[in-house]
């Protein structure tokens, strides 16, 4: 490869660094839209985001005013922060001044001809089954397919220049840049990538994903996209390097520490107000943690995902009976793809920072052939019906007659779906009970099965050593000490219809999929006698009378469904029967607790209302998802069990006394906590500037290519969350845009060591993308607040010294 071409490849990589990644709708991942700028301090990064995308980086004056008026910002904290930033005016005056200083919204319309043309070709290329007529030659890759059709694009005035383009994208890109100084390449490329940041972020994700079947079939690269875009600019008659672009370096617009955003002290005071109350409650609970007697053996233990929504249902499960609950990452530590029964679809069911390493398949067992046959029959019938409707709707000859003939029937169906969705759901559920679910007759391919491996895929099944390893990891990370007769791994998913963002409500740790399969697999592993024997040798003794079950919590309705259990003893069966009843009680209580926050819901009819939301095709907000998230607590449940966290905290079980070497803590902080920061930042930025970092109102969104949404009928791919997931209405916020507070109950020196050994964590804390407070059980549960740079401060209420600053490492 010639030298200048290999350098150009690196320039493309560098230019794309400012972009985050955007996942497709089927596996929506809540990620920081400014992930590409996380190496900068938060304040500088949001200023850079403003320069690159025109997005606001701090809460708006209206959001701050609403929080101030509602008492969510404590006056003392605000006075403290304002003084620290050198502001001397009264809060009311400052808000007025900020309002006056807010620049008029700049119309950064991306509706230029160049953007429209590129969005058009990208949409037709990346289509994942929405289009009936697909783009020709997609299998050759984006650049090749575009090169074949672009010379006939009549929107391009100078399209003749596209006839003799180089065959290879890198050479084509070099040709397009031939008039640009190599020293300016990176800036020019960045300009073009940030012109349609949503599409570019999607390409970035797809080109880096090794397991995406669509990418394997229709490859697209950043180089191919840029080559097409720059030549399209030429064909329109635009300069490849517009005036001023060459001077625009990243960091040129930095809002440095000497000139902080006026909203920064307000945000910090808002965060401090929330955190102070939370830490006060946790610390009070910590003071009593050792005084109680050893707990009795619970009847059942339920492991939920760390997701903030689990906190509400966990509290009500604990209140419903002698149950203990834990929080663990909802993929249950299994880095895998899951292939459901009767499907070619391979679902990546682990977080985006973990590469899948195994494939587990659901295969038909021989223990219930009748159930399998019934399932096959109903599924075949359903598929045939869907195919028939689709072909009638899409067939040129049949479409008109179909509409004429079936209009009345579809009209009645539409009226029913609109007026009585709850009743329809009940009828559908009654019908669905006849269809055996796959968990009742399928086995999971847990054993290694090299014969089932695909050349392009992952090893199918798990070795004996791997099975023991994942089971051990789960119990070690949660600091498990005592096993109940029944242990239930409980994944979660949502229930919603007509919702492109359905996967954003599923389990984030399972890459936007329901967590039930992962729960079933870990339960099956833990019921394996060979695994138990190995665990016993390693000091984790599971009593013979303990059985592991799997369940799935539907966050929309708070219903918890137990999957088909293994053979149970009489005692276990009794416990499970009682647990089913108590889970229903917990569901009623949890739904009632959530009802006031959901507009139109009544506490007395909360269950019916959640069921209606799950089935209503006109419902823009089936549930609040992770809205409200603001903290991530790594501690035993005893520290959080006695008070409500309002569904705002991720809860990961952690027991400092069983983790002398800190490996469990390191795994939690480098894995689940980092994913928590991604989620938190997505909610934060989608809230502070929904038009730029979110995806606007659902009312005007359209799904494009089954991969994403855009507003209206074209333009950039919208990457964030819709308005309805964050706001009660246009003027009333629901989500409080606060950066994540990580709380660890562990010796401070241990936490320091973890941070010191992991540059990614240190960068996130030092650059204030999230905050950290340690409650040190070896120092009377004293609070230590991590300071950027690696020192610790003790709050003035706890220490005679206002800033008891000590080195981060006591080594």
């Amino acid at each position: 490869m010639p030298t200048d071409l290999s350098a150009l490849r690196a320039r493309v990589e560098n230019a794309a660094k400012v972009l985050g990644r955007c996942w497709p709708l089927q596996s929506y991942i809540a990620a920081n839209p400014l992930a590409g700028l996380e190496k900068l301090p938060f304040d500088e990064a949001v200023a850079e985001g403003q320069a690159l995308y025109g997005g606001r980086g701090y809460p708006s004056v209206a959001q701050l005013r609403a929080a101030w008026d509602a008492g969510a910002i404590n006056a003392n904290h605000l006075a403290d922060r304002l003084e620290a930033y050198g502001f001397t005016e009264s809060p009311a005056h400052l808000l007025d001044r900020m309002e006056a200083a807010t620049p008029p919204s700049v119309n950064r319309s991306n509706d230029s001809l160049l953007n429209r043309v590129m969005a058009k070709w990208l949409a037709v290329f990346v289509d994942q089954g929405q289009a009936t007529w697909t783009m020709p030659r997609r299998q050759e890759g984006f650049y090749a397919a575009w090169r074949a059709v672009a010379p006939y694009d009549t929107t391009l005035a100078h399209r003749d220049c596209l006839h003799d383009l180089p065959e290879r994208p890198l050479e084509a890109l070099a040709a397009a840049l031939s008039d640009v100084e190599p020293s300016q390449w990176e800036r020019v490329l960045r300009h073009h990538l940030t012109a349609l940041p949503g599409w570019a972020s999607f390409i970035k994700w797809r080109s880096q994903d090794r397991h995406d079947a669509w990418q394997a079939a229709h490859p697209i690269t950043m180089t191919g996209y840029l080559a097409a875009r720059l030549h399209t600019a030429r064909a329109i008659g635009l300069p490849v390097a517009p005036d001023g672009v060459a001077e625009a370096a990243v960091g040129a617009s930095r809002n440095g520490r000497d000139r902080p955003a006026m909203a920064a002290p307000w945000l910090e005071a808002w965060e401090a107000t929330y955190r102070e109350q939370l830490l006060h409650d946790v610390q009070a609970a910590a003071a009593t943690i050792h005084t109680g007697a050893a707990p009795d053996r619970p009847k059942a233990q339920l492991v939920f995902c760390i997701d903030v929504r689990s906190e509400v249902i966990r509290r009500h499960v604990e209140q419903a009976g002698p149950y203990q609950t834990f929080g663990y990452a909802g993929f249950f530590g299994l880095p895998m793809q899951f292939q459901p029964y009767d499907s070619d679809n391979r679902i990546t069911a682990c977080p985006p920072i973990v590469d899948p390493k195994h494939r587990i398949q659901e295969v038909c067992g021989d223990h219930r052939p009748d159930a399998a046959a019934a399932h096959e029959r109903w599924v075949a019938l359903g598929r045939a019906w869907q195919r028939l409707i689709k072909s009638l709707k899409h067939n040129v000859a049949a479409a008109f007659g179909f509409v004429e003939g079936s209009g009345g029937l579809f009209g009645v169906a539409m009226a029913a779906r609109t007026l009585i969705p709850g009743w329809l759901r009940t009828q559908h559920q009654a019908w669905a009970k006849r269809v055996p679910t796959s968990d009742t007759f399928c086995d999971l391919s847990l054993d290694r099965a090299p014969a089932a491996d695909h050349a392009d895929g992952l090893p199918v099944g798990l070795s004996a050593e791997e099975r023991s390893y994942y089971a051990e990891a789960a119990f070690r990370l949660m600091g498990w000490q005592q096993f109940a007769p029944v242990v239930v791994f409980t994944g979660h998913g949502s229930e919603t219809v007509n919702n492109p963002y359905a996967s954003s409500l599923d389990c984030g740790a399972c890459a936007g999929h329901p967590g039930g399969p992962n729960a079933r697999i870990l339960a099956a592993i833990c019921n394996d006698p060979a695994v138990r024997e190995v665990l016993s040798e390693r000091g984790i003794v599971i009593p013979e009378d303990t059985v592991f079950l799997a369940a799935e919590h539907t966050t929309t309705t708070d219903a918890v469904r137990l999957f088909h259990p293994p053979t149970l003893t009489e005692r276990q069966a009794k416990i499970v029967d009682q647990l089913r009843r108590d889970l229903h009680t917990a569901r009623v209580q949890a739904a009632a607790e959530r009802a006031p926050a959901l507009q139109g819901a009544r506490r007395s009819h909360a269950v019916a209302d959640t069921a209606r939301r799950a089935a209503d095709w006109a419902e823009t907000r089936p549930e609040w998802g992770l809205s409200g998230n603001a903290a991530f607590i790594m501690a035993p449940r005893a520290l959080t069990a006695e008070f409500s966290l309002d569904g705002r905290a991720f809860l990961h079980a952690y027991n400092w006394q069983t983790d002398d070497r800190g490996t469990a803590l390191e795994t939690i902080m480098t894995g689940p906590l980092v994913v928590g920061e991604w989620i938190n930042m997505q909610y934060y930025f989608s809230t502070v500037d929904n038009a730029v970092y979110g995806s606007g109102s659902k009312i005007t969104q359209n799904v494009v290519g089954n991969v994403g949404v855009w507003q209206g009928n074209g333009g950039d791919l919208m990457t964030g969350l819709p308005l309805q997931s964050l706001q009660v209405d246009d003027a009333t916020p629901y989500h409080h845009p606060l950066r994540l507070l990580a709380v660890v109950y562990a010796p401070r020196a241990r936490v320091s060591r973890v941070i010191e050994r992991n540059a990614q964590l240190r960068s996130l804390f030092d650059h204030e993308w999230m905050a950290l407070t340690v409650l040190d059980p070896e120092h009377s549960n004293r609070r230590y607040v991590y300071q950027p740079g690696g020192t610790w401060a003790t709050p003035s209420t706890e220490s005679r010294d206002d800033q008891d600053t000590e080195p981060a490492l006591a080594l």
């Binding site: 320039r11 050759e140 990176e186 191919g224 992991n758």
Partner: protein, 123 residues
């Protein structure tokens, strides 16, 4: 061991060796560069721990494959190694990572010089 192996004096041929250490998220880029540069093969060590300008990076994290470091090494002639250097130098202007180039010797020269660089496809 056969008797003859003692008597054969293998000829050592001089070549260049490049070692590259980058963050996990750059693995794809570096691997692609090596494929395109025409080296006949390379070795990847994943989950490498170590300390550099941005601090210590732990290896073998259970739930994070992006944060740890990846190390590559490849052996080839001067021109192909130079192409890799040229392709990496701009990357290191804004991303952390290091590369080391050294003289090395190999016995089976053809094993290291047989490949042509992969062409880009149309993506």
């Amino acid at each position: 061991m056969s008797d003859t192996s003692h008597n054969i004096e293998h000829t050592l041929h001089p070549l260049k060796k490049i070692e590259i250490i980058v963050k996990g998220k750059r693995e794809h880029f570096v691997q692609d560069l090596l494929e395109k540069s025409g080296v006949s093969g390379y070795t990847i060590h994943r989950n490498v721990a170590g300390k550099g300008a941005s601090g210590f990076h732990e290896g073998h994290l259970l739930f994070n494959d992006e944060a740890s470091l990846v190390m590559f090494f490849a052996v080839s002639d001067q021109s192909k190694i130079q192409a890799i250097i040229n392709g990496l130098s701009p990357l290191f202007e804004s991303s952390s990572g290091v590369m080391f180039v050294s003289d090395t010797k190999v016995v089976r020269l053809t094993k290291f010089l047989s490949a042509e660089g992969q062409q880009d496809d149309g993506s």
